[in-house]
């Protein structure tokens, strides 16, 4: 049987050469994502801004959203949105936080229940009060930051600090782009989004660590190989694995996206973008080349092509970039 080879054996693609393209692209995209976050904002769900979310299903025929809208409008509950959710008889009602603390939220729900009466099934009712929403938002933020630092410390222990820092820059870049994606698509940003962000963090690190592991091994084995060459060889050696793994993860996510239902739709969509698209790109085009700038292997003997690279300047590293054939093995 002929087995599937997505990446041909002995692929020798010069990834490091692309760093002069990939870094500016990433910088532009990151800035765009940050601008999106500040000017377009995130579509915060009730978890983080408080308020009420009700999913109702009409008992007879498709929902008359117009009529429902006027019914709820007559209750004077401030801002609210109606939205079809999946099926035509399924409607999502979102009511913004009521002034007057937790009890006011409860009163609002009761009003809507009374107004819509028995014509609908209440599939889901969620009420998040002001005290909880503030807390959830701060917990979520703390969680992401905490995870980043915990992983940073772990990597610092296992590798050299340059690796930890490189992985961190690469993966914060992932998170920034994902947040930009969420802002652009106006996907609901709620607790599951935090879960998605943390999982993206975990997975793209997983990928980065696999490549770093190989780089470390190569550093020990080939004492004289110039840095860009060594990085290229490492990325190429792990490329097949990266692709195969991402195809399987993409398949799982695709199944969740297609069959997993509306409730986790935004979760899987975010993961698809963050893990499959950005994560793969980052570990290859950002996480590995950044090691050159961070000065890994700058003190290697025989590293003539890679002069004693000062940590920051891209200029100093630039001469190393001209295309060299990669010697993966000798």
């Amino acid at each position: 049987m002929r087995l599937l080879r997505i990446v041909p054996d002995d692929t020798k693609f010069d990834f490091m050469r692309f760093r002069r393209i990939s870094f500016p692209i990433s910088a532009v995209l990151s800035i765009a994502a940050i601008l999106l976050f500040f000017f377009h904002g995130l579509n915060f769900g009730i978890d983080f801004v408080g308020g009420t979310l009700m999913e109702v299903q009409t008992k007879s025929g498709p929902a008359d959203i117009g009529q429902m809208r006027s019914t709820i409008d007559s209750l004077h509950l401030g801002d609210f949105q109606l939205q079809q959710f999946g099926a035509p008889d399924d409607v999502l009602i979102r009511i913004s936080e009521q002034p007057g603390g937790d009890q006011a939220q409860q009163a609002a729900v009761q009003k809507v229940r009374d107004a819509l009466g028995d014509a609908v099934d209440y599939r889901r009712v969620e009420v998040v009060g002001p005290s909880v929403s503030t807390e959830l938002l701060s917990y979520g933020t703390i969680g992401v930051v905490l995870a980043i630092f915990a992983i940073l410390i772990y990597l610092w222990f296992r590798f050299e600090w340059q690796f930890a820092l490189g992985a961190m820059i690469a993966n914060v870049h992932d998170l920034v782009l994902t947040v930009g994606f969420m802002s652009l698509t106006h996907i609901d940003f709620d607790l599951t989004s935090i879960a998605a962000l943390l999982t993206i963090l975990g997975y793209s690190l997983n990928d980065t660590v696999v490549i770093y592991d190989r780089i470390r091994e190569m550093l020990r084995r080939y004492k004289r190989m110039p840095m860009p060459e060594l990085l290229n060889a490492s990325v190429n050696a792990t490329l097949s694995r990266s692709i195969v793994t991402h195809v399987t993860v993409a398949m799982s996510l695709l199944a969740l996206l297609l069959f997993g239902g509306q409730a986790i739709h935004s979760f899987t969509a975010t993961m698809m973008f963050g893990v499959v698209l950005v994560g793969t790109y980052t570990s290859v085009f950002i996480a590995s080349p950044i090691l050159i700038y961070l000065g890994v292997g700058s003190t290697r003997h025989g590293g003539k092509e890679e002069p004693e690279a000062p940590p920051e300047p891209p200029k100093a590293a630039a001469p190393a970039a001209p295309p060299q054939r990669v010697r993966a093995r000798r």
């Binding site: 905490l146 199944a255 969740l256």
Partner: protein
């Protein structure tokens, strides 16, 4: 790496098998499982988002606890100074402390000593730090008593404990099935009731403090006069229909002395009423009070609202009575429930509510199942296409892996939520990653010119270190998520974390074992991957 002693091989297979078997109770009907020995009954619990139900997060009003604490310090100060016959002026609650001005300088030392006695050393965990319940400070003739933060925290903790017991009683009285009631953080209580579709009544029942007391109506002035005069021993309370009453602060008998309350009907008017019975000390106090006050009205006060204010016609000595008011059958029934269950030590506020109807729950289960099957099918086919026989090995490992996840979740009696199912589906995606890492490494070693067995051995050897490193990072993310997450998100963190552990186990032992046996049986010259 490819050599396993018999013992080790047996231990690996048995461990995997045992963990898989733990998942069994999930596949048999509940009725059957209940006949099994207790240790075998543990199974995965479906989260409220899957089975439908209502989840309420309640917060104990710490402000009210603090206020009540201050009130009791205030009362104590009054009692202590009066019994010691020390004259004082300007006793008042200011901010978070009680202040009192001792009239004569000569009394200062005695007063301070007496008041210091009010401050108790805190027992329990807080006590080890040598903290006391009240900070007592003197400045000239003014003594300031401030309940310490530790003392108040302790009080809040006690209030939450009491509240949990009372909520349990109330929920049980409502006849709700299998509720879970647990503390969340310092001052919160999570109440989850599976299958409850409309929590309105539950919320109403939990939202009431149900503090009932019997007090005398103050007839020395009208409520309108009192609004001007601010008498210190009485307060103005609302009654039914906007009527105002001036009620003495002194409590004759409190709801704590009730032993029973039942809804009923007044034989004369056929109106719904609540019949109650006092315990012996309550009966004695009520008897004494009613004997002394024949002809005067007393008030039945519930949560600072006057339910009724009947005139005492004859002394009530039997220890039982009747509350009549503007009741419906439902409200009389609810009040009886509340009185039987007892009063909450402090008001509760509902700060979060999540209710899922049974329809959505079933839909989510179906969606999760479909996604799981589709995801598994895709991955299995892809792995076989990519690695052939070794792909098959990987698929076996992944299947065992999923069974083991369910086994571990059952052992933990973990809650399975929709995001949790997503976590499992995702684990299927990454459980193969360990195998991919190993196989790719073997491919490489083969290309490097090693013999088949050598390549396999080196492949495992080198890949395992990488697998460990890469999985620990994901595990850290899952752990953080578990720590900060609630409900469904926590369910995701649990399945993700457990999935990482089981996939580590299968990668390090099971896959290796399968490959080792294959090598021993077939003695391959080339590696078919």
């Amino acid at each position: 790496m490819l050599f396993f002693t018999r013992w080790k091989a047996a231990a690996i297979v048995l461990t995997a098998l045992a963990v898989c078997l733990c998942a069994l109770p999930n596949f048999f009907p509940e009725r059957l499982v209940q006949k099994w020995p207790a240790w075998a009954q543990r199974h995965v619990v479906l989260g409220l988002d899957l089975q439908g139900g209502s989840s309420l997060l309640l917060e104990v009003d710490s402000g009210a606890v603090r206020k009540e604490q201050l009130q009791s310090v205030d009362d104590d100060v009054l009692r202590v100074l009066r019994s010691a016959r020390i004259p004082f002026t300007g006793r008042a609650v200011r901010g978070n402390s009680v202040e009192v001005h001792i009239t004569h300088d000569t009394d200062d030392d005695t007063a301070l000593a007496k008041l210091r006695e009010l401050s108790q050393p805190l027992t329990g965990i807080a006590g080890t730090t040598g903290q006391r319940s009240i900070d007592v400070a003197a400045n000239g003739g003014v003594v300031t008593l401030t309940p310490t933060d530790t003392a108040i925290t302790e009080r809040v903790r006690q209030a939450v404990d009491q509240s949990i017991q009372i909520i349990e009683r109330r929920v049980n009285e409502l006849g709700l099935v299998e509720p879970t009631i647990q503390r969340e953080g310092l001052n919160r209580i999570l109440v989850q009731v599976p299958g409850l579709q409309d929590p309105s009544r539950l919320k109403e029942i939990l939202g009431q403090t149900a503090k009932l007391d019997f007090r005398m109506v103050d007839l020395s002035m009208t409520p309108e006069q009192a609004a001007e005069a601010h008498p210190s021993d009485s307060e103005i309370l609302d009654g039914e229909g906007g009527q105002k009453y001036l009620i003495e602060k002194r409590i004759l008998v409190s709801g704590a002395d009730l032993v029973d309350a039942q809804p009923g009907f007044d034989p004369n008017t056929s109106q719904p009423v609540v019949n109650f019975r006092f315990n012996s000390s309550g009966a004695r106090k009520f008897g004494e009070a009613t004997t002394a006050n024949v002809g005067k009205p007393f008030a039945i006060v519930l949560d600072n609202k006057v339910i009724s204010a009947p005139v005492i016609r004859t002394p009530i000595l039997g220890g039982s009575g009747q509350i009549s008011g503007n009741f419906t059958v439902q409200s009389a029934n609810d009040l009886a429930i509340l009185l039987r269950a007892g009063a909450l030590p402090a008001p509760l506020t509902i700060i979060e509510e999540r209710t899922v109807g049974p329809g959505l729950g079933q839909d989510s289960i179906n969606a999760g199942e479909h996604a799981a099957y589709a995801g598994a099918a895709l991955v299995v086919i892809f792995m076989f296409a990519t690695y052939g026989l070794f792909g098959l090995f990987a698929n076996i490992a992944v299947a065992v892996n999923v069974a083991m996840i369910f086994g571990v979740l059952s052992l933990l009696s973990a809650t399975l939520t929709l995001p949790g199912i997503a976590g499992i589906v995702l684990t299927v995606g990454i459980a193969v990653d360990s195998n991919v890492l190993i196989y790719e490494r073997i491919r490489e070693e083969v290309r490097g010119g090693r013999t088949a067995i050598n390549a396999i051995d080196a492949g495992f050897n080198r890949a395992l270190a990488t697998i460990l490193d890469s999985n620990i990072t994901t595990f850290i993310a899952a752990a953080v998520l578990f720590y900060i997450g609630t409900g469904p998100v926590r369910g995701f963190a649990v399945t993700l974390g457990v999935g990482i552990l089981t996939s580590l186990f299968t990668a390090f032992t099971l896959t290796r074992l399968i490959v080792a046996y294959w090598v021993r049986l077939w003695r391959p010259r080339t590696v078919p991957i």
